[in-house]
């Protein structure tokens, strides 16, 4: 098992009281698998990613990555945050090597590897540009390369496309999907967009309203072999969509 979550729970303490964010979360992920987490807003999806990334400590339960307990940020795991979060005062080249700079790994070899990624995904000619000079789709690709640059095994994607318009979103998610598959990474995507989850992942985990807990886990079966664009036209797509839509139950609390 690449990621193994067992009876995970998190309760926040604040002067006004306790907030139970997550309760009894148990699921695991295989090496190379793409899993999406969908849930109503405020159900603790992002918090779950923070826990796996080692940024917060669970109040109960365990997280194991590659057989080891998570106790802090690890080079095996990389987080792709909401929006692209590129730094405007750094060039594209310096943005994608941010992780290397933080980890003191900014060696010529690592830089060459990152340069290869930039070239492979059509960004090398923009290396000296500023983030604001790039389109939304290209910025997302940069954010992904920044995530890949430190050579992680697992990518945690925290609603990375939420700021994009619908058109861009469809093409960028297909783009990102292709790169993640091509680089053979294990990926966990958090989203509130049901169709995005179905079009990109192998399995979909549905969380309930706060306190977030696992409502259902769907194996997308035959859809797994199709590309995101093809999936949206596949007959199974609507079935999964309606099923998950009902489970999310937007009207009930």
């Amino acid at each position: 098992m690449m990621i193994d979550l067992r009876r995970l729970a998190l309760t926040y303490q604040s002067p006004d009281g306790e907030i139970e964010a997550l309760r009894d979360i148990t699921f695991s992920m295989e090496q190379g698998e793409f899993v999406s987490i969908v849930g109503p807003s405020g159900c603790g999806k992002s918090t779950l990613l923070s826990l796996i990334a080692g940024l917060e400590t669970p109040t109960a339960g365990t997280i194991e990555v590659d057989g080891e307990r998570v106790i802090g940020p690890s080079p095996k795991i990389a987080l792709m945050p909401q929006r692209d979060q590129l730094f405007e005062w750094r060039s594209i080249r310096d943005n994608v090597t941010l992780g290397l700079a933080v980890r003191h790994q900014n060696t010529p070899e690592r830089r060459a590897q990152v340069w290869e990624l930039l070239e492979r995904y059509g960004l090398s000619e923009f290396a000296a540009k500023r983030p604001s000079q790039l389109s939304g789709g290209m910025r997302q690709r940069c954010a992904l390369i920044r995530t890949l640059a430190t050579g992680p095994d697992i990518l945690l994607l925290d609603e990375p496309f939420s700021a994009l318009d619908y058109q861009t979103r469809l093409s960028v998610s297909a783009d990102i999907y292709r790169i993640i598959r091509q680089e053979h990474k294990t990926a966990l995507l958090v989203t509130h967009d049901i169709s995005e989850a179905i079009s990109m992942s192998d399995r979909v985990v549905v969380l309930t309203h706060r306190p977030g807990t696992v409502r259902a886990i769907h194996d997308l079966g035959a859809l797994r072999t199709l590309s995101p664009m093809e999936r949206r036209d596949a007959p199974d797509f609507r079935g999964f969509f309606n099923l998950i839509w009902k489970e999310l139950d937007v009207n009930a609390q």
Partner: protein, 271 residues
């Protein structure tokens, strides 16, 4: 479509903009010229007492005398030097203290009421204390300037540091960044704009500090000239000095704008 001939509407629009611009410039110059001529005429025709309100020609003569005696650059230079030292110290020390407050939330909560009181307090009241403690000289003037600019710098920079995007901090933490790295790679660069705005505010504040300081204790400088001029009832000297002060302040402000442009390019804030 660069080769296309502009439409007649477009040409009329451009001509109207040009006309408006030159009209504004004309009135700007007219107001100044009218003011100067009216001032000069009133003095010459005896409508006002030139001994009390001076006149443009007398101001000019005073400036020429100052220049000829060689004192002009002494006074301008002294005040400018004090201002530059004061606002540089204020900005650097204030930013360092703001970094400390960002680093420790606990310390920043302890410091909070003191900063509120120091911010509300008119710093010029501290002038006599500085003179007693540090002595009647340039050091006291700089201390005064520092007192005025440092509190604003601390408050501005601290607020700027605290408003750093939490998602960007989360990204750096997920990469395993230490607090020092978060400061160096994110919090400080994200606040270059805050720093430049603080610098601009500090230039103005430092002039207040320097002039107040020179009013209290000095043997040279523009503040000294103003006080000296008023004490010997030489209003020509007072008016001439105020004019010099206005010029020096504007030149220094423009200098900061220029420095900002250069630094922004070097720091990579703008491409």
């Amino acid at each position: 479509m660069p080769n296309e001939v502009p439409s007649s509407q477009r040409l009329r629009y451009l001509a109207a903009i040009r006309r408006r611009k030159s009209l504004i410039r004309f009135w700007q110059i007219f107001v100044l010229a009218f003011f100067l001529i009216f001032w000069e005429l009133s003095a010459r025709l005896g409508w006002i007492d030139a001994f009390v309100v001076s006149s443009p020609s007398r101001v000019c003569a005073t400036l020429v005398n100052l220049y000829a005696s060689g004192d002009l650059w002494l006074h301008v230079g002294t005040s400018c030097l004090e201002t530059v030292v004061g606002f540089t110290l204020g900005t650097v020390l204030g930013t360092l203290i703001a970094v400390g407050l960002w680093w420790s939330d606990f310390v920043s909560h302890i410091a909070d009421p003191y900063l509120v009181v120091l911010n509300a307090l008119p710093k010029t009241a501290l002038g006599p204390i500085f003179i007693v403690w540090i002595g009647a000289g340039t050091a006291s003037i700089i201390a005064m300037t520092l007192a005025i600019s440092i509190i604003v710098t601390i408050l501005n920079m601290h607020v700027g540091f605290l408003s750093t995007d939490p998602q960007k901090i989360r990204l750096l933490r997920s990469l395993g960044a230490t607090r020092g790295q978060i400061l160096r790679l994110l919090v400080f660069p994200a606040n270059y704009e805050t720093l430049f705005n603080t610098l601009k505010v500090n230039v103005g504040l430092s002039w207040v500090g320097v002039i107040m300081g020179e009013f209290l204790v000095s043997r040279a400088g523009l503040g000294y000239l103003i006080v000296y001029g008023s004490q010997v009832f030489n209003m020509d000297l007072v008016m001439a000095t105020v004019l010099l002060l206005a010029i020096a302040a504007v030149v220094m402000y423009q200098g900061i704008l220029w420095l900002e442009k250069i630094l922004k390019k070097r720091l990579g804030v703008i491409a």
